[in-house]
């Protein structure tokens, strides 16, 4: 892989109590590219993506070994700050989860918590992030309406805009379109294409066609193992492992 590697997973193991959920995962993540994690339910892809911003810290009994190097520093090392990490590595979830506040406040909240007080600066951030999330034209005249008044697809783009507001480098998306209709899904996919010009995107998806459309690299996981990783075109045209082929062609079970 001849890319600028922003995150390097090396020999990662994870246990939930006695349950060994991830087995010796080694995976490079390229900057300004989209990497898809695919695999059947329970294979560990959501567990893995939650390792990237230490969301699993919140799970009691969770133990991690191995390393996840972000700009060469282990994110699980003693000097790593999870709050700072989550600012640089944002996350968008399966179900849109805007704050029960105005559209404007959803985006301004993060920068304000991180010390931005100037109204003009906050206005600029809100507009810029809404533009980047392809939502500005739809909401510019109602920025102070409740975010809950938006459609599901708009809410999900607002959540992406909210993530962008704290100036991240990596955006994690855990099945971001699974609760959306096809039109909202296509808008999110277009947005992912735009976002990778500036950001690294890692996406968990159950949709094979979505993984093949949006991602540059694809990792196939099964029962906690990383079975195959490669360029998306290779994975979907000529996978090297039979298990990958059986999964993506729907021959499991």
């Amino acid at each position: 892989m001849n890319e600028d590697i922003i995150m390097d997973v090396q020999g990662l193991n994870l246990w939930y109590g006695d349950n060994h959920a991830l087995h010796n995962i080694t995976l490079p993540i390229a900057n300004r590219k989209v990497t898809s994690l695919i695999g059947p339910s329970g294979c560990g892809k959501s567990t893995l993506i939650r390792c990237f911003n230490r969301m699993n810290d919140l799970v009691s009994g969770c133990k991690v070994t191995g390393s996840i190097l972000y700009h060469g520093q282990d994110i699980n090392g003693p000097e790593a700050d999870p709050v700072e990490l989550r600012m640089k590595i944002g996350m968008v979830f399966q179900k849109p989860n805007p704050f029960p506040k105005s559209i404007y406040e959803n985006i301004a909240y993060g920068p304000r918590v991180h010390g931005v007080k100037n109204k003009n600066e906050l206005d600029r951030i809100v507009e810029s992030c809404l533009h980047k999330a392809a939502l500005w034209e739809e909401v510019k005249d109602r920025l102070h309406d409740s975010a809950m008044s938006l459609s599901g697809g708009q809410q999900q783009r607002l959540c992406i805009a909210r993530t962008l507001a704290v100036n991240p480098e990596i955006i994690l998306m855990d099945e971001p379109c699974s609760a959306l209709d096809p039109i909202a899904t296509s808008k999110i996919e277009d947005l992912i294409e735009d976002l990778k010009q500036e950001y690294c995107v890692i996406i968990v998806t159950h949709s094979m066609s979505q993984a093949s459309r949006v991602s540059d690299y694809t990792a196939f996981m099964y029962l906690g193992d990383l079975i195959e990783f490669g360029e998306t075109r290779q994975i979907f045209e000529n996978p090297h492992k039979e298990l990958t082929e059986n999964y993506i062609t729907g021959r499991f079970g």
């Binding site: 094979m208 066609s209 979907f236 000529n238 996978p239 990958t244 062609t249 729907g250």
Partner: protein, 216 residues
């Protein structure tokens, strides 16, 4: 993969093979007609052109529908994409069978038939190449097409040899020029049919192994 998708894909392969059998039958019969100077058989081959097109369109449409409905990936995608290209080759083979048959009809009407000599040898070799390429596609097995490049080179060599021979005969006997000029056309058809066999072999290799090979 649903049962419906699986059976749809299997049926498409069966239909593509049926089209191939039909098209190769047209070519085989046209070469037989040429060898035996059998204008009735040439006529029969020409009669099959409409049915060939009808079958081709039906298989092509089923492939388009499968692509749109199931968006296949990996070996399923390779199978449908390769098959889609291969049925164009089959249709072309049938059409060239028709063209050869039509040429035989024209010859019998205006000039009579002269000894086709080496042209028949070329025709038999090309037919064997096409049949092997078809077997490889039908059985999803690349073994019968491993030496296709060498065989195509031989066809190219024979094509030039026959061409030189026909020109020499034209020079020697001017009365045979109308016949021999049409033999040159048939010689060219056969050379291009060798390319069709190679195209099928290339696509079958891609379908089975995922490797893109260049035979011609």
């Amino acid at each position: 993969m649903t049962e419906k998708e699986r059976s749809d894909l299997s049926q498409i392969h069966i239909d593509a093979c049926d089209l191939g059998t039909y098209a190769i039958g047209m070519l085989r019969d046209s070469i037989d007609a040429f060898e035996r100077a059998d204008t009735q058989q040439a006529h029969d081959v020409c009669e099959r052109k409409v049915e060939l097109k009808k079958r081709f369109i039906a298989v092509e449409e089923s492939m388009f529908r499968h692509l749109a409905l199931y968006q296949p990936v990996a070996r399923d995608m390779r199978e449908i994409v390769a098959s889609l290209r291969i049925i164009y080759n089959f249709e072309r083979i049938g059409r060239m069978g028709y063209d050869i048959g039509d040429t035989i009809k024209t010859l019998s009407q205006c000039c009579g038939l002269a000894d086709p000599e080496k042209l028949i040898i070329v025709g038999r070799k090309v037919l064997a190449m096409i049949e092997d390429a078809f077997d490889a596609f039908r059985d999803r097995d690349v073994a019968p097409i491993r030496n296709m490049r060498k065989r195509d080179s031989e066809i190219d060599r024979l094509y030039c040899e026959v061409m030189r021979d026909l020109i020499r005969r034209m020079e020697q006997k001017r009365d045979d020029v109308p016949i021999l000029a049409r033999y040159i056309i048939i010689d060219r058809y056969l050379e291009r049919l060798g390319d069709q066999a190679c195209n099928i072999a290339e696509m079958t290799t891609y379908m089975v192994t995922g490797e893109r090979v260049e035979i011609i």
